[in-house]
Symmetry: C2
Subunit: 434 residues, 2 copies
């Protein structure tokens, strides 16, 4: 048959891991899922495709050029670009059936057709947990989301620092000087404060019509960091605007809940802005401890009305999100995963021709006892089987000769230390499982 | 702001579960993953999108009308319609880095734009495990996949019956009567044998040019079922064609491995055909025990060359696949899941105003000890908190008054039996976790 071969390629900017990496990534997701479940969040798994009308409601149906949008038959649809809009769609559809506060988590792939570049993907995972209220939602929920982020990183044994702010503080100050109309532009400038030199920031603030004293106050304000006592001391006399006062009160209330919840890694930092303009009060970000310069690896905040495009009903929410694709890349660079010690096989059973049947039985017994045992049935000679075990970095091998079968005791060899001993099945299981 | 509301809808034919159902479905997937890992299969997570060229290689680049295909910029891409072609693409790309036999599993969503109808979805899960060889692959791998299917259903505590056949037996018989050219059409007819009346089958066989005696032989052949002794007895004198003999020998060899692997639920049944024409020898299907009429809930088989569209290298494979979306629907119908006993909450902590802080602390301690504890902070009165616990079918509540805080002993109430007792934290954890 004359056939043209196709070059096997994956799409550019699409993430795909090799087996050992994938095992590490899956283990990471499992740990996060466990934390969400322990904290009474329910899983949600929405479709990857949504009606364009629903997904693009925010932009009035305009397609952002990054969105994968297409039609099939007469249906206009998009691939989801985040997990938040599908959550809003789901909650709006089922608001009469769900229990509120509705606490859900979702770990899933999202799609953005941007130009692929280092650290940016067109298909990547998001890992979100949100709490949605029905009309009202207590600040306990905000504290819970901050604490949840802390617990996620504790579970991963990653030392993290969580910086919390309330947007209301800055909003209140801007209101107090009669400049509420510049708020959106101001947030855009301030979001760059760690990336641009101070004079450039000042010049941009000046362009927004802020006087020198006001610029100074703003920069001073957003440079406020410390524990709740520190920031209260600095802020409480600064401004009497009611939004400003409410913002500070929100932080104090959240702090009191966080203390009762046993939180230890929270710092208040008014430079935390968050890009999205839907956040309305509490915002927070997680950083590798002492490495703020690497940028946030997780973030979250309070939004006043999740479902405003779908429903008249007010549904305030607060959530947190971990950028797990980016986090995974960082962790890989830092050798967080012991890739050379990651194997899908705990133990290789090395047989001779005459013990193949008995070895198959032994593999089954080991697997039944929680030992991931393998037999290399494609490798014919004893030597090539041992070589394969070495090549695959299998931690243990069991050698099964006829004598071993008779005695029901097998030679177990630790491939790292080269120690070996003749052991019963039970002893082997105990040794390997530790 | 004058704003038009969008009706929140999900796309027709797309699967989306409510929280309790999703919890059950996730638990089911976790059990299957555990089985795959215990048997040394590695996880793979390929992109949902692929180059159309790669995904449609089989059909020479022709789009099946069911495939979601679109362009973005100058890139022609498709959403995957199964997990097998992406596996072939992955293995072909990485054949020099992977260890063979390459054993991978993948659980993921696939996309088919067919008309939605009962039991058919446009987005649904596939759950595949395959073993790919490099040039050669022993029949041990076939046995392993059959046994793996058995283990999957054992892990789900579902009574299953696995029916195994080899296509070579029928192929050999057809060769022996000089009609090899009708094989593809014959398989299509025989695949309908359970759905059409016998006379209709006979008439279709006759249209293929088969004589009356040949029709009878074929129907007799594919009605062969039993254990390996039964079918050997029936078949071994029937035909001396070498393909036929090889098919029977394959079954005998697989049977001997299966016995060593402790398999108990396997039956040989020559009516097992499988739709896909890429299967070349062993084929098998799993059915609810004694309910063959419900159709197969899982299937698999041997294919001679997985990667033929991408590479000159011969890469034979064998795999199994569980139709988990369909399986889940069956299980829901059969009340397999105890939905009313499925809760994301093990225990609600019911506080009074003055014990709120202490209750938050208690919730944390319980969660730290593996009890999914919740506090209903949106419900203000004691009564409404208790009502909420009832409404959510929470199995236990803990009542925390000031006395309880002082004594560090709390009232634990079993909501089903109404039993209650004053217990320490440790005793509570023990009671709830069982």
């Amino acid at each position: 048959m004359d056939k043209k071969l196709i070059i096997p390629r994956k799409l550019q900017g699409f993430w795909e891991l090799m087996p050992k990496e994938q095992m590490c990534f899956s283990a990471l997701l499992n740990k996060l899922e466990k934390v969400f479940q322990e904290n009474c969040f329910v899983p949600l798994d929405t479709p990857v495709l949504e009606y364009s009308e629903a997904l693009l409601a925010k932009s009035g149906g305009e397609t952002d050029k990054e969105v994968y949008r297409f039609t099939k038959g007469s249906t206009d649809m998009c691939m989801r670009y985040d997990l938040t809009v599908p959550l809003a769609r789901f909650v709006s559809m089922h608001k009469d059936e769900l229990s509120f506060p509705f606490k859900r988590y979702q770990i899933g792939k999202v799609y953005r057709g941007e130009r692929p570049q280092k650290g940016r993907y067109r298909e990547f995972y998001q890992c979100d947990a949100d709490i949605i209220g029905n009309e009202n939602l207590s600040l306990v929920a905000d504290a819970e989301c901050v604490r949840l982020m802390e617990k996620c990183f504790d579970a991963l044994e990653i030392d993290v620092e969580i910086r919390v702010s309330s947007r209301k503080i800055l909003t209140g100050y801007i209101e107090s000087i009669g400049k509420a109309n510049i708020m959106t532009d101001l947030l855009i400038v301030l979001d760059k404060i760690d990336k641009l030199p101070q004079e450039e920031i000042m010049s941009q603030l000046s362009e927004l019509g802020l006087a020198a004293k006001e610029q100074e106050n703003i920069v001073n304000l957003i440079q406020t960091t410390g524990d709740i006592v520190d920031i209260t001391k600095k802020l409480e006399k600064m401004c009497q605007n009611s939004t400003f006062v409410e913002g500070l009160d929100n932080l104090k209330e959240v702090d009191s809940y966080l203390k009762q919840m046993g939180s230890k890694k929270v710092l208040y930092d008014l430079s935390i802005i968050r890009g999205h303009n839907y956040y309305t009060s509490i915002v927070f970000e997680g950083f590798f401890a002492g490495k703020k310069e690497l940028g946030a690896i997780a973030g979250g905040g309070r939004f006043d009305n999740l479902c405003s495009y779908f429903s008249e009903k007010r549904m305030p929410g607060v959530g947190m999100s971990i950028g797990i694709t980016r986090l995974f890349s960082h962790l890989m660079q830092d050798n967080y995963f012991k890739l050379d010690k990651t194997s899908e096989i705990d133990c290789a059973v090395i047989n001779f021709d005459e013990t193949f049947g008995e070895s198959l039985k032994l593999v089954e017994l080991l697997r039944k006892n929680g030992v991931r045992a393998e037999i290399f049935y494609e490798n014919k000679s004893f030597k090539s089987k041992m070589k394969e075990a070495n090549r695959r970095q299998v931690p243990y091998v069991i050698i099964v000769g006829e004598d071993e079968v008779k005695m029901q005791k097998y030679m177990l060899k630790n491939m790292q230390t080269s120690e070996q001993a003749q052991l019963s099945l039970e002893e082997i299981v105990k040794t390997i499982r530790g």
